[in-house]
């Protein structure tokens, strides 16, 4: 792949030019579908865009010294990582270079969550620190399942390249792995059963409590890009291999949209769990399936 195609993928599709409107669209779909399920009308279509513009035009409190510089840089690092993760998704058929590298994609998907933890602690607000501690505990529990599920898919298909995985036909084992990934997504996106880190009415806005104006806008955008990257990962694993690029892009968008609807429905239908219940859910209930998936993947690998 030459440089121009790589740049086009990073900047146009599935990169920034597609990903930023898609992030706003997914944020709107989430809010709107929750509103509809609660019998409300919900926000207008352009709402996430208006929120973003308004936040950009607001002022931020003065921050000085290293702590201030760190606080300003965390949202930017999170944003860059989430945008990179979206750019890596192998939506279009031909590929090469870094594109579709599963390990790099996982690292980039994990970086925003790390930034949130660091941001909460560097804001020196008690609510931010509690939120960060919760995010760290939650991240330790869901990531085991998330990584094991992805490992089981990769081990059963003998490759760590996402584009090669997407091209292979799907198997029951892979569906089990995808199911485990979907179970982890609400925790990764701070959605309702696992919305502890930013639990309102308990700890204000968690790690984001001290953030305002453009910094908060960057957090909102990186959260939206996380939506695009996480649902896109599942969509690429689920999507059948198609020859035509426009059909591949269309199926990718439709599948991402369906996953957003599913996650919003779960978020609207459930209440927030306490931290011990959430951790127990991942360590006791979901881990069994992940271990089952990876052990059967390894077993099949050596049998074949």
């Amino acid at each position: 792949m030459n440089l121009i195609t790589a740049l086009a993928r990073l900047l146009i599709f599935p990169g920034l030019l597609f990903a930023i409107p898609a992030a706003w669209f997914f944020l709107w779909v989430e809010r709107k579908s929750v509103a509809l399920m609660q019998g409300r009308v919900g926000p207008p279509f352009m709402q996430p865009f208006f929120d973003f513009v308004k936040l950009l035009s607001k002022t931020t409190p003065p921050r000085s010294g290293i702590a201030g510089a760190l606080m300003r840089s965390w949202p930017l690092i999170a944003l860059a990582a989430a945008a990179g993760a979206v750019g890596l998704l192998p939506v279009l058929p031909s590929s090469g270079g870094f594109e579709g590298d599963l390990i790099l994609l996982l690292a980039l998907l994990e970086l925003p969550s790390m930034c949130i933890i660091a941001a909460g602690f560097s804001s020196r607000s008690i609510f931010g620190e509690i939120g960060s501690a919760r995010e760290a505990a939650l991240s330790v529990s869901y990531n085991i399942v998330f990584l094991l599920a992805i490992l089981s898919i990769a081990a059963s298909q003998h490759t760590f390249r996402l584009d090669a995985l997407a091209a292979l036909p799907s198997s029951p084992l892979r569906l089990l792995g995808i199911l485990a990934i979907i179970v982890c997504l609400p925790a990764k996106l701070h959605l309702n059963p696992f919305s502890l880190p930013n639990a309102e009415q308990e700890i204000y806005a968690g790690p984001m409590t001290e953030y305002a104006g453009p910094e908060l806008a960057m957090w909102e955008l990186s959260h939206g890009l996380e939506w695009v990257a996480a649902t896109g990962l599942v969509a690429t694993l689920l999507a059948p291999h198609l020859g035509a690029w426009w059909l591949a892009a269309l199926v990718f968008i439709a599948l991402s949209f369906a996953i957003v609807l599913l996650l919003s429905a779960v978020a609207a239908a459930t209440a927030r769990l306490a931290i011990d219940t959430s951790v127990r859910f991942y360590w006791q209930c979901t881990l069994i399936f992940a271990v089952l998936a990876i052990s059967s993947a390894l077993f099949m690998r050596y049998r074949l």
Partner: protein, 170 residues
């Protein structure tokens, strides 16, 4: 640049985020404010979001007759809201201290301590009235965006610390 300014004004009118503060209210106005978010009134149609942190908010909604204990908290929270910002006084209490007038535990009305943009009278006001008040405050925010001098003033206020603000208004 002019286009960006117009876009910002439009966005401010369409996305008012609230922070709710109780300054010794009887909880009557507070439940009416929460009722404005419920399916029957659904003010999210206007882009309203009730935020947990004053740092995220544009509009500060204050209920209650301002008890002496609450004065420091009101000034702190007003300083924590980033500019441009507006204040909505919900109910008759913050406007006039209502039936609690002349009480020795009060230091009201609210306008003694922070500049109030919109008063929503009533004991308690109906949720529709609260939504109208918030919409008016959002329009005031947008107007502040159109006038560069006022924007500069509004931006200058939060960047000063909370202490300097209290010095200015003894």
């Amino acid at each position: 640049m002019k286009l960006w300014r117009r876009l910002v004004c439009y966005a401010r009118r369409r996305s008012p985020w609230l922070f709710h503060m109780n300054s010794g209210s009887c909880n009557g106005c507070d439940i009416e404010l929460v009722a404005a978010l419920t399916p029957r009134y659904d003010c999210e149609q206007l882009g309203v979001r009730l935020e947990g942190s004053p740092r995220h908010a544009d509009i500060l909604c204050i209920t209650g007759p301002v008890t002496k204990n609450a004065v420091g908290a009101i000034r702190t929270v007003y300083g924590q809201v980033c500019g441009p910002k507006a204040v909505v006084a919900i109910g008759s209490c913050p406007a006039t201290t209502n039936v609690f007038i002349d009480s020795r535990t009060l230091d009201g009305p609210l306008q003694k301590h922070v500049p109030v943009d919109v008063f929503v009278p009533g004991c308690p006001p109906r949720p529709d009235a609260i939504i109208q008040g918030v919409a008016k405050a959002a329009a005031i925010l947008a107007e502040r965006g159109m006038n560069p001098a006022e924007t500069a003033l509004a931006i200058a206020t939060p960047t000063r610390g909370v202490d300097s603000f209290t010095e200015e208004r003894p």
